[in-house]
Point group: C3
Chain length 268, copies 3
């Protein structure tokens, strides 16, 4: 597909998402729960947060996608994610994982790998160091250094995606999405997004929403990241700092329509 | 009372609330804790969030009202609500329950009913399907379908309020409040309120604050919903989407005075 | 040092903080987690929230400062704080404690005192009644009443700081900071800060960030409070209430530079 066709597809997906209004089940961290719920409402879908072992399977059974996020994790919460993830797999509900802080502490790295072992995850979204930390020892995946050299990043990510049998979305100045074969890049976004907590987590949740309506996970991820990045660009015009940027970002997500996204998406 | 008299009462209650500045004890969900605290500060009262079994009774003993909300519940949190609720009953502190998601999962429905069984709840606020889920099996309460037909909603809600021996506040485009005998409606509000997470929870917390100063629970609930809805109307004038609507809503709650509420409240 | 020299020092500390961008490890309450993370990002440092017993020591080992806050506490969380605090002590990472609600319930008072007993806390920040509640029975520290009489506040606080072997920062209309010997006051700030939840918690977190770059804890605390108060003054100019004040406060923290702080800091 051409850049133009990817952009058209992103717009189509946004329109579909607003028509279907899927329920998105989030098991996520304390820091971003409110923000994530507001992000999902702004884009036009229905968020629910539920983590009790007694109800996660039931809640997942109603969902169009399951969003797992290991920030502020404890073992109880990781168990919740695995229980819900297995149910999602059984029901063919797409699962997206945000391995927040994987690589920073043993608990986070182990928990992210455990979820990937026990649950078939459709997409993993993280920054370069989080994603690289997911590589098993002895794998042929290249190290963190190489992924920061842009010419080798795509190769390393593709190799890791094949090893993990999932789609990887590595977000940064230019986002990189790969399933091992195909590689897409998204260049929408604004640097103020790095000055607000939970923009990565928000990107993950939005990707979850797009997975609920687009079965091609690479296209779903790229559509979501282009939309979110474009909203960041639009919000930055009005913002006087990271404080005013936040409401402006929610407004932009709410006000961007399919046509605007088709014109502004930079997927290649 | 006439529409005008209810509106005057709403304004009087707001003035009283700002004079007395009651402490409102919230045992609520992770998604809306920050938002709820800011809502309560904006209206002029003192919020506190405390859920540890070791301190909930002591905290409730200082409170003008106790707000219980089962979003993001676990059994530990439901126990906290029951412990605090019993203490509130012993001390004649009014209790308001928000049965978030009751009817969606067994844990939520069971937990809401358990709280209603073990605690004398002054008011329950929810949407139509949450409220209807509270009906015990074999009750004569009509089903969810009927409550969505506006001409039968009042009858079904009155019957359920009598069964549950509490006041029910069913919020929607037009809010309906009943204690089984009396029925009031409130038609303030704006559709953007549905695009922000926790506006229902905020309505519940504000009703808790009004219960702390107005002993007639039906009037307290109606006053609170008229005030909150009027703030939503005022905020919507400035908002460019759900992002800018949030700070505008807090500003509106803060800036609306008793006189403005007396003129704008639509209670009938 | 003169008022001018303290103000210059505050600016220098802000410049240093933005150059070093320390990681600040927060074990804090549910209400303010998102807000605290956004406050720390706005000032230019890196926040992390982590409370699992399995990872708090590892996370603290990367940190420039450890921020402990007992709002929405349970015994598990207090244990997290003690575990992390001991690790911080071993590694000479400064620790700041916010004893939210100490004095209000036995759990809070006991938990604050336990942390002070088991961890060498560099600075404690609270309001007057929270700080006074930390005094051990039988101490010579004067009671709550006296600290509200401004002429005796400094004496009482100095005595308590000496007893507790820590720096105390008592925030209010005029902030008072003392290590038992030296007493500083900061008169920056705006009353709208009291209408937003978590401004005290935010002050504590910002003080944590300054402790990461300034080894003199009294100066670090005074620099942080002057900066935060000045941001409040700047934000209030734009705010139409507590809602619009919040994004304006984050914008102000982000936009104030060292030079602006040197001119506006009121430390004496």
């Amino acid at each position: 597909m051409s850049k133009r066709e990817f952009a058209k597809k992103a717009g189509d997906n946004l329109a579909l998402l607003r028509e279907k209004k899927p329920l998105i089940h989030n098991i996520t961290n304390y820091v971003v729960m409110n923000w994530t719920a507001n992000i999902l409402l702004a884009i036009g879908v229905s968020p629910v947060m539920a983590h009790a072992h007694e109800e996660v399977e039931e809640m997942t059974s109603f969902a169009g996608a399951l969003v797992l996020n290991i920030g502020t994790l404890t073992p109880y919460w990781v168990d919740s994610m695995v229980i819900a993830g297995k149910k999602a797999n059984a029901l063919k509900v797409p699962v997206i994982l945000d391995p927040v802080g994987s690589g920073a502490t043993k608990l986070r790295t182990d928990s992210a790998r455990r979820i990937l072992d026990e649950v078939q995850v459709t997409v993993v979204r993280g920054n370069a160091s989080e994603i690289l930390s997911l590589a098993q020892k002895g794998s042929h995946t290249k190290g963190v250094d190489s992924i920061h050299r842009i010419e080798e990043a795509a190769e390393a990510a593709s190799s890791l995606a094949s090893d993990l049998k999932t789609v990887l979305a590595i977000t940064g100045a230019v986002d990189l999405i790969t399933n091992g074969d195909q590689v897409l890049r998204v260049s929408n976004g604004h640097e103020l997004m790095g000055c607000v907590t939970g923009t990565g987590c928000a990107a993950t949740a939005i990707m979850g929403a797009f997975l609920a309506v687009e079965s091609d996970a690479v296209k779903a991820a790229a559509s979501a990241l282009a939309y979110f990045g474009l909203a960041g660009e639009k919000a930055a015009v009005k913002a006087e700092g990271p404080g005013s940027f936040q409401p402006a970002l929610l407004d932009a997500l709410y006000n961007i329509n399919a046509e605007y996204l088709r014109k502004g998406a930079k997927i290649f």
